[in-house]
């Protein structure tokens, strides 16, 4: 029977995996050989980020005008590569004059926050502070 165990990994690898997981969703878990988690997180974050951008959601920039803009930037930057490719994926830019664009803004922010949660889990697994099933993915 599978037993839960803490499995500390090289701290340097954990940090590299966390950075990779931030930049490409799921890559951090893939580097730690958590294949099923890597696939699920990749598709969840990619789906939210792409649909958010295709709906012409707003992407907040780093020169925030107020605290809410800064929170929006911190959420958006969590989606890693999608933040930097936003202009390529949606060359028309944001359009929040319609409800659809506003929903897209929320979806893109959700993608970023979800990816940040995944990065935190990579650090937990990497530093051995989270129990993982020995025989599980």
């Amino acid at each position: 029977m599978a037993q839960p165990q803490k499995n500390p990994i090289n701290p340097a690898l954990a940090l590299v995996a966390a950075a990779a997981g931030w930049f490409v969703p799921g890559l951090g878990h893939a580097l730690l050989r958590k294949w099923s988690k890597a696939i699920v997180y990749f598709f969840a974050v990619v789906m939210l980020a792409l649909i958010g951008l295709w709906m012409r959601g707003n992407v907040f920039s780093s020169n925030a005008a107020d605290a809410f803009d800064m929170l929006g930037f911190l959420a958006d930057i969590g989606s890693g590569i999608f933040y930097f490719l936003a202009g390529t994926i949606n060359p028309a830019g944001a359009d929040v004059s319609r409800a659809s664009g506003d929903y897209g803004t929320r979806l893109f922010a959700t993608a970023g926050v979800l990816n940040l949660l995944c990065v935190l889990e990579v650090l937990q697994i990497g530093f051995g502070s989270k129990e993982e099933w020995h025989a599980g993915p």
Binding site: A44, L48, S100
Partner: protein, 63 residues
């Protein structure tokens, strides 16, 4: 370059949000496959039902 936008209504957006977040939360918080499936289904339905319930609660104040 084509300038198009995906147009989804509130409910469709909510379904996509619920699917992605409930799946990710299930994998973040549960270890076995059966636990993950149960949690993902429960969270997805809870997202939808709570949102629809709150929508109906706000309906009398919308006009």
């Amino acid at each position: 370059m084509a300038r198009w936008a995906m147009i989804l209504n509130h409910f469709q957006t909510m379904v996509i949000f619920g699917l992605a977040v409930s799946l990710a939360f299930a994998f973040l918080s549960k270890k076995s496959t059966s636990e993950r499936v149960r949690y993902a289904v429960w969270a997805f339905l809870a997202f939808l039902l709570v949102a629809i319930g709150i929508g109906w609660l706000m309906y009398p104040f919308s006009r």
